[in-house]
Symmetry: C2
Subunit: 251 residues, 2 copies
């Protein structure tokens, strides 16, 4: 390799041997709601560095797949979920590329936000292949409240916070929140998702009024479990909430 080059001919003369190997990873911020609490899937690390610390699940991107393909594959491997079912939402979050974020070598990681559908009470089983034994669900807000020493491995606390902020923000003006529920759901279920993610109570009446225009009435009603009127089942549409639903101010 002979001297500095301009950007234009840089790529032409690219020679893999001239560059240090860059490992491209895909990390996952997997959310699911149960019992009015937002949970995140984490794995307990068994090896150095950050041994015994919690970390986001993830893995390397293979030669013939995109980062999102890899995220999808890793998710299937660690949860044993059938991704043919449409109840999984995946979107790219951001890429973390600080040179020393992994002390061993250069790992650039593209993080993905994953939303799994639940009925609001049962979390998807995280029992699948190998590593899944270490995987478990943890309350997201408590993890982020971060008791000292309870921080996640690597820069994963930052990634988790970014993921939560992305989700919370998008819920203001889209119907992403429905991705955390089955295909048909009640307004109360949806409201519970909002309360779990925003960590803040919502007035039921006004919530109904604001949400209904973005939803499609299935005509069906629930058979209620514990006292109360049967609720209408809705389906989501791709309509945006306009103007947005205001998130209650935190103080």
């Amino acid at each position: 390799m002979n001297g500095p080059q301009t950007e234009e001919n840089y790529l032409e003369s690219y020679n893999p041997g001239d560059y240090p190997p860059v490992a491209l990873a895909a990390d996952l911020v997997v959310f699911a709601v149960a019992g009015s609490v937002l949970h995140v899937a984490l794995v307990r690390r068994g090896t150095h560095p950050f041994r015994d610390r919690l970390a986001l699940p993830g893995g390397f991107v293979g030669p013939r797949e995109s980062a999102e393909d890899a995220a999808r594959r890793e998710l299937a491997e660690e949860t044993g979920l059938d991704l043919g079912g449409l109840l999984v939402h995946i979107e790219q979050l951001a890429t973390y590329s600080a040179p020393l974020r992994d002390p061993r070598m250069r790992v650039v990681s593209t993080a993905h936000l994953v939303l799994l559908a639940t009925n609001g009470s049962t979390l998807p089983a995280l029992a699948g292949a190998g590593d899944a034994a270490d995987a478990g669900w943890y309350p997201a807000h408590e993890i982020l409240a971060g008791k000292p020493g309870g921080q996640l491995a690597f820069d994963h606390s930052v990634i988790l916070l970014d993921g939560l902020n992305r989700l919370a923000g998008k819920m203001e003006y889209t119907t992403v929140a429905t991705q955390l529920l089955p295909g048909e759901f009640t307004l109360t279920q949806l409201r519970t998702v909002y309360e779990a993610v925003w960590n803040s109570p919502m007035a039921p009446g006004n919530f109904t009024r604001k949400m209904t225009p973005q939803l499609e009435d299935t005509g069906q009603k629930t058979r209620t479990a514990g006292g109360g009127a049967p609720a209408t089942l809705f389906r989501a549409t791709d309509r945006h909430i306009h103007p947005p639903l205001a998130r209650p101010r935190t103080p």
Copy 2:
């Protein structure tokens, strides 16, 4: 390398030789406003593939820098701008990793949104080192309107569209638009930026009423050029626009 491995010991046994080289690039979507028109910086390709087509500027990420470091460096190299001046806004956009997005080899690219400050009439000079000779400003909306054959190289049309959407969306609830203006600016200048990005006229009176709470009055006034009252100079704050400024519906 012996058989499939679990995610946990994957990294431990990572061996660069086992993986095809991944080139990590940083592409730039550089915006600036002049004459009520949003412009984007593009370079004309001199070599195959996509010879003579327009493309986003960009370059490879070095071994000891993050993707954003690389974006900043590339920007300086191609514009000759003094990045010590605070009038440059950079934020990560997304990472594009489709295996065949570059026909020659695997290039994963992290795109960045860059906003340059102008007074609204003069575009920053794109004369710097080598490749800058090919660089120029192009009207963003016209490029995206995309006369057939006028498409950008690689997946850069998609990246540009994502960049514009990010900017246009963020302008609804933040003061990012001020990053396309000098440190002190008038409400008319700011309104012009909104009109350029949203490609849609805004009512001056209502714009003033909605924006003022997010701005800080400098107490100074402009010396007007061609007839009209002197305008107040404002500075931006980091306050969010709440509720958001509605973008005029496109139909």
